[in-house]
């Protein structure tokens, strides 16, 4: 073979070897890669497997998470429902339902309203310049309300009041001295057209007391009085001095407007509550609802404690008692009878609150004709009365015998009538004998009492007074004919002066002896009694701020009253309220006011 061919073959073989080597190398490499890839693939597969496991785990976790979230959502829903329940229960606890037998008599206008319940509502929704401190024992602890400070001239005929700034009326305008002046000017201007109103002559006599009101500056007002009047602060704290909002207080009287609570009172809505609802049927209240007032001048104090007060009205004490026992109402106030309240005291589901009272009852004699135109006869009958018997038997000790027209706790209270005693038959017989009365010629008269429930337990009282006056120890010297009339007829009989002797009662307009002492000769009692000396002492007492002198003067009035017996004090009531145990913050003080904004549950 030629050499070239051998070389070519060698080259080819070499090339072949190279190619083969390369191929093999390549193949090996590829195989290696493949192997690597396989390994990687395996790894990958493994990883994928792992990943799958992870994903599976993730799915499981996600599933659990979803379940947990669902559970959480359910829990949240539960929580919301429970929160709503709690809120609902809180809302119920934020509402006080009060049962009462009272009713607003006419209106909630300070120029006219002269009934206990009307004044009660007015106190919750309006404000006066000053008020009596809750829990006061004397009724003379005055605290600022719409006025922050005050002072008077030396003769007490000029009074300056500095008003609280920042108090707004319902339309956003500030309550200023002009508002105060308007309130008092309006009240006095309405007196001739509202003769039965509280400020009227014969009641509080604002037109006799006030001379004029003057605006000194935006927040300073001055009152000029016709005479020095020491109970002036007491007058200013009573509901007849409520500050009105001119927009709702035209000079013409504002009456109840059905379906419009706001238009039904001219009072400025600056008190703790607003009148949210006032439903009446046939001039009797069905429901009154008070809502917390965001415009209340004293919100910073944390009052009112309760957001809503709902008054429900019951026809008599028996139905009211059933309502509080059944739990239909949270609180029963005015009137629960003494028998019922003592019984309810033993009820573990109820709580009875006790307080001092200032409601008094007294016996009046018609002095213009026989037999009571003879002072000896009046004194004789007064001495034969047995007060403790009445207070224990009828009121079960919840009223106290009263021996002065001024109730205990008030300045000027004495025990003057104790001088005559109770059931003092020896003294009675002596006096009647002097007046010509004996068994053969007995003293005969009619004793009247009110029979429609205006005064508590009148029939029972009258019966006991008669028993005392016709006691066998008197030997038949006194003969009493009991007579009764419903309230409207009773007042008419009083005015017609046909009742020989009659039982009458009194609540304080303001807590001051000035509001009581005049009862011995009050013209509206029509007993035709007058005593210039007593009146002079009375006027002197109201003209001085010297407490010691006033006390002395009222004692003198009492002493004369014992000698004359035109009007004989009988008893003074206590005060009580019945509530569920969850109710707190009730003050029953001498003012007889129920301050609902202090109450909490």
């Amino acid at each position: 073979m030629p050499e070239r061919v051998e070389i070519a073959i060698a080259v080819l073989v070499l090339i072949g070897i190279l190619v083969s080597s390369g191929t093999m190398y390549y193949t090996a490499t590829v195989m290696s890669n493949v192997s690597t890839v396989s390994t990687d693939l395996s790894t990958l597969t493994e990883s994928v497997g792992n990943l799958t496991d992870v994903v599976s785990d993730l799915a499981t976790i996600t599933g659990n998470l979803v379940q947990s979230v669902t559970g959480v959502n359910a829990s949240i829903a539960d929580l919301k429902a429970r929160l709503a329940e709690i809120e609902a229960s809180l809302a119920v606890r934020e509402t006080l339902i009060v049962g009462t037998t009272d009713s607003v008599e006419l209106t909630l206008d300070p120029a006219q309203a002269y009934d206990y319940f009307g004044w009660c509502i007015m106190q919750q929704i309006g404000s006066t310049l000053i008020s009596v401190k809750p829990g006061s024992a004397t009724g003379a602890d005055f605290v600022p309300e719409l006025a922050t400070s005050w002072n008077s001239s030396a003769d007490s005929k000029i009074w300056d009041f500095t008003l609280r700034q920042g108090v707004k009326l319902s339309d956003g305008t500030p309550l200023t001295a002009n508002t105060v002046k308007y309130s008092f000017d309006r009240t006095i201007e309405l007196i001739p057209s509202i003769p039965e109103g509280a400020p009227a002559t014969g009641n509080l006599g604002y037109d006799l007391i006030f001379n004029r009101t003057e605006v000194l500056s935006t927040y300073k007002v001055r009152f000029y009085l016709n005479f020095a009047f020491s109970p002036f602060l007491g007058i200013l704290s009573c509901r007849a001095s409520g500050i009105v909002e001119p927009k709702y207080a035209p000079i013409a009287q504002v009456n109840y407007t059905a379906g419009n609570a706001r238009a039904s009172t001219p009072l400025a809505s600056v008190g703790p509550y607003v009148l949210a609802r006032w439903e009446r049927v046939g001039a009797r209240d069905i429901e009154i609802r008070l809502d917390a007032n965001p415009n209340y001048w004293n919100l910073a104090s944390g009052y009112p404690k309760l957001k809503h007060i709902i008054f429900k009205f019951y026809p008599d004490a028996a139905t009211l008692r059933l309502a509080i026992e059944a739990g239909d109402v949270d609180m029963a106030f005015r009137h629960i009878s003494p028998t019922d309240v003592l019984d309810l005291q033993n009820n573990p589901n109820l709580r009875v609150w006790w307080g001092s009272g200032a409601q008094i009852q007294y016996l009046c004699f018609q002095t213009k004709r026989a037999p009571f135109n003879d002072t000896r006869v009046r004194v004789a009958v007064a001495a034969a009365l047995n007060r403790p018997d009445v207070t224990e038997t009828v009121f079960l000790g919840l009223a106290k015998p009263l021996y002065s027209i001024i109730p205990p706790g008030m300045m000027g209270h004495t025990e003057a009538f104790k001088k005559l005693g109770d059931a003092n038959y020896t003294y009675t017989l002596n006096l009647l004998a002097q007046a010509g009365y004996n068994a053969a010629n007995p003293l005969k008269f009619q004793l009247w009492y009110e029979s429609s429930g205006h005064y508590p337990s009148s029939p029972d009282q009258a019966l006991l007074y008669k028993e005392a006056l016709t006691d066998p120890a008197l030997g038949g010297v006194i003969q009493v004919d009991l007579k009764s009339a419903d309230w409207a007829s009773y007042k008419k009989n009083r005015d017609d002066e046909i009742m020989d002797a009659f039982l009458y009662g009194w609540y304080p307009d303001y807590v001051d002896p000035d509001d009581y002492a005049f009862l011995y000769w009050a013209g509206w009692l029509h007993i035709n009694y007058s005593n210039a000396t007593q009146v002079a002492l009375f006027n002197q007492a109201r003209a001085t701020t010297d407490t010691a002198l006033r006390t002395q003067l009222y004692a003198q009035i009492d002493a004369m009253a014992v000698q004359q017996c035109s009007v004989v004090p009988l008893w003074v009531s206590g005060a009580w309220a019945v509530t569920k145990p969850s109710v707190y913050g009730i003050y029953l003080d001498i003012t007889q006011d129920m301050r609902y904004w202090l109450i909490s549950k």
């Binding site: 046939g282 309502a323 239909d328």
Partner: protein, 346 residues
């Protein structure tokens, strides 16, 4: 005569009856001694104020003019449409309030109580009466008769208080008074009947509370009134069950229930219907004792308070409306009577 003719005739005959009633009330209020204005004011007002009141009430006009005004006020459709109640004058106590408005605000409470009381009285009385008649002279019959007598004899206020004690005070199941739970706002006034207004409002809670409040007073009145219906139903059923058509119905194989309620009771029902009408009319005047016991603010309590306040125009208005209710209910009963018994129309 046909039913329609009968109805028209009865309506026309009711008019002179009403006129007689209204005239009598008018005359009585003005003939009685005493000046109502002076009595109302009890000498507290000045002569000028009393004159102003007389003018407001139209008492300063001649009697014939007052009479025309009085009648016109009742038929003045324009006034009725504008106010929703007839013109019965102004209240003497609150002179800005219409007596018609006062009466019509108190009336729904009385109407609601009357309706449910009458339903209960009728159902209890008629059912027990039928049962008693069916078990004549048995122990059950005597028991039912005795219960009916006791039910009618027991004073309504006493029964009311007993139910209040049991269900209200001891069991705390039902409220002792008022028209609705004090913590629940009353439904918006549409008809004035809380149950109907709650339904119209779609408020189940208010509906439930309204029925709860109605339960005791309507049960009290219902039990007392059922006594009459028990005896009346029993008596009439005993008589009717003796009739031949009842035997014939039984002979035809009708079920006893059908015979009793479908045949006998239908025929015995007419006197019961008359009594239902009379009792319902009386209830519309206001069940004073029941309303007082359950603090129900209806016409009964309204009239009592108006009397206490010497509000003569309100008293007159209430008497007039009561007379109208009785006349209207009597008319309705007569018409129903004629519907059930065609012989009446002859």
């Amino acid at each position: 005569m046909g039913l329609r003719t009968y109805i028209v005739t009865r309506i026309l005959l009711t008019i002179p009856t009403l006129l007689l009633l209204l005239t009598t009330v008018f005359l009585i209020m003005r003939v009685l001694p005493g000046d109502p204005v002076a009595l109302h004011f009890e000498k507290k007002a000045t002569p000028e104020q009393m004159e102003q009141m007389r003018h407001l009430l139209g008492l300063d006009k001649p009697l014939w003019e007052q009479y025309i005004d009085y009648l016109w006020g009742l038929v003045d459709v324009g006034y009725f449409l504008a106010h929703g109640y007839p013109n019965l004058g102004k209240s003497m106590q609150v002179t800005s309030e219409d007596v018609g408005g006062q009466i019509f605000s108190a009336f729904p409470a009385t109407l609601e109580l009357a309706i449910y009381s009458m339903i209960l009285a009728s159902v209890i009385g008629i059912l027990l009466g039928v049962v008693a008649s069916k078990s004549y002279n048995s122990v059950l019959d005597h028991l039912i008769r005795g219960s009916g007598t006791v039910a009618y004899a027991v004073p309504v206020f006493f029964l009311g208080i007993v139910l209040q004690l049991i269900f209200g005070v001891y069991l705390h199941w039902l409220p002792t008074g008022l028209r609705i739970n004090p913590s629940v706002e009353p439904p918006a006034t549409i008809t004035g009947l809380y149950t109907i207004d709650s339904l119209l409002e779609g408020n189940i809670i208010k509906l439930f509370e309204s029925f709860k409040a109605l339960a005791l007073p309507s049960l009290t009145l219902g039990i007392v009134l059922s006594g009459i219906f028990i005896r009346l139903t029993r008596m009439n059923m005993l008589e009717t069950l003796r009739f031949d058509f009842v035997a014939a119905a039984r002979a035809r194989g009708l079920k006893e229930g059908t015979v009793t309620y479908g045949y006998a009771l239908r025929n015995a029902f007419l006197p019961i219907l008359t009594m239902m009408g009379l009792q319902f009319a009386m209830l519309l005047g206001g069940a004073i004792l029941t309303e007082t016991t359950f603090s129900w603010p209806g016409l009964g309590r309204y009239i009592v308070t108006r009397i206490n306040f010497r509000d003569y125009t309100a008293i007159q208005g209430a008497v007039v409306m009561f007379g109208l209710f009785v006349a209207l209910v009597s008319l309705a009963v007569d018409i129903l009577y004629a519907y059930f018994d065609p012989r009446i129309r002859l």
